[in-house]
């Protein structure tokens, strides 16, 4: 495995300050920072709107899928993507080589406003992520802490 990024409570608080400020300025509903593998790094906003885990996986896929399209027109990748719905919209922008920021917003704001503030927010997030610890983070657990019992179980045998 590669070095493991660690988010301390302080890191998460700092990230959430940036995201909170971004949501306040844009009046968007939810913003999520994810890695390009689809893992959630931080999130802020109305979490009851949707399953954020699934949004993260699909957004990472969507962002990655358009890379090839970008290459065909001579770009390395698109820095930002916008999916327009009837009432809800999604704006995604690149934070750094490993990270993407997703913003879900409705009719209270506009894509222009979200796009405008997302640039500074992404830069702030990138600066915070650069300083993250990797390994040596104090989460000390060893093989004895991992139960030998099956991790996932079925409620009862399936009928065949």
């Amino acid at each position: 495995m590669n070095p493991i990024p660690v988010l301390t409570i302080q890191d998460v608080a700092t990230l959430q300050d940036v995201l909170s400020d971004f949501l306040k300025k844009t009046e968007a509903e939810l913003t999520v920072v994810i890695d390009r593998g689809g893992n959630i790094i931080s999130q802020f906003g109305d979490m009851n709107l949707m399953d954020v885990t699934i949004i993260a996986a699909l957004a990472a896929g969507s962002f990655a899928a358009t890379r090839e399209l970008a290459r065909r027109i001579g770009e390395v990748e698109f820095n930002a993507l916008y999916h327009q719905g009837n009432g809800s919209h999604v704006f995604m922008n690149s934070v750094d080589d490993d990270t993407i920021m997703i913003t879900v917003f409705g009719s209270r704001t506009t894509v222009g406003l979200v796009r405008f503030y997302s640039t500074a927010a992404a830069q702030n997030v990138a600066n915070i992520l650069k300083s993250l610890q990797r390994n040596g983070h104090g989460l000390a657990f060893d093989a004895k802490d991992v139960s030998t019992a099956p991790i996932f179980t079925e409620p009862k045998p399936a009928s065949s």
């Binding site: 699934i54 390994n135 991790i151 996932f152 179980t153």
Partner: protein, 223 residues
């Protein structure tokens, strides 16, 4: 790539089901989704064609055990098995922590199995990962069909690397050994993760894989 979040006390892992087309990868996820306690899983998302062939990926998030107060979250993905979708497979493999290789046991699929396994190794190498280091489990699927290769032969053609991988006979449609495979890869992954975060002088514990599910000769699991 796993992420440790101290604020939400979560550790996230990504497991990818890999293998040739129509081998049963999506069926594995569907079965897990049907059978696991709904409180421990999210929705199963499938990006498939009208003919139910996986176009991009399937995705199933699971919550699992608590380790020292941290909830482990496993995100299960499948890849499209068809040869032409290699770019998509590379995308889905990004930041992977563990792999289940779903091989089709039918004789006529053996060449596709070998090609897909080679493709897995190549795609891992592209992101500087080695098939000999990534937690990986082999699942020999469709053992209920009649025209299947013997397990020894499948071991010979697929499980012949530097490291002997745990392997299971399975029937994904009925769920036989679907959970055993998921548990095996999860355990190996957690043990590898614990080694990276090892307490000095910790005593190694062998990986728990139910003996009846394991093909003979595979008891030396390298974690």
């Amino acid at each position: 790539m796993s992420i440790i979040n101290y604020a939400s006390r979560e550790i996230q892992f990504k497991i990818v089901y890999y293998g040739p087309g129509i081998g049963g990868k999506t069926t594995n996820l569907s079965y897990i989704h049907q059978r696991i306690n709904p409180q421990n899983r999210g929705d199963l998302v499938s990006l498939a064609t009208a003919a139910e062939r996986t176009l991009f990926f399937d995705f199933l998030p699971l919550n699992a055990v608590v380790i020292k107060g941290f909830v482990t979250k496993f995100q299960l993905y499948t890849v499209p098995g068809q040869v032409i979708y290699n770019a998509t497979r590379q995308l889905v493999l990004r930041s992977v922590d563990g792999v289940v290789f779903v091989a089709d046991s039918q004789w006529e699929k053996m060449e596709e199995n070998v090609e897909s396994f080679r493709n897995l190794a190549e795609n891992l190498a592209r992101q500087n990962m080695s098939i000999d280091e990534v937690p990986c489990v082999l699942q020999y699927n469709k053992r209920d069909l009649t025209n299947i290769a013997p397990v020894n032969y499948m071991e010979y053609v697929l499980n012949n690397g530097k490291r002997r991988l745990p392997s299971f006979e399975a029937i994904a449609t009925t769920g036989q050994n679907v959970f055993a495979v998921l548990n095996a890869v999860s355990q190996i992954l957690l043990h590898k993760f614990s080694k990276q975060n090892e307490v000095p002088h910790a005593t190694p514990v062998s990986v728990a894989i139910p003996a009846q599910n394991v093909i003979p000769h595979n008891d030396n699991v390298t974690v």
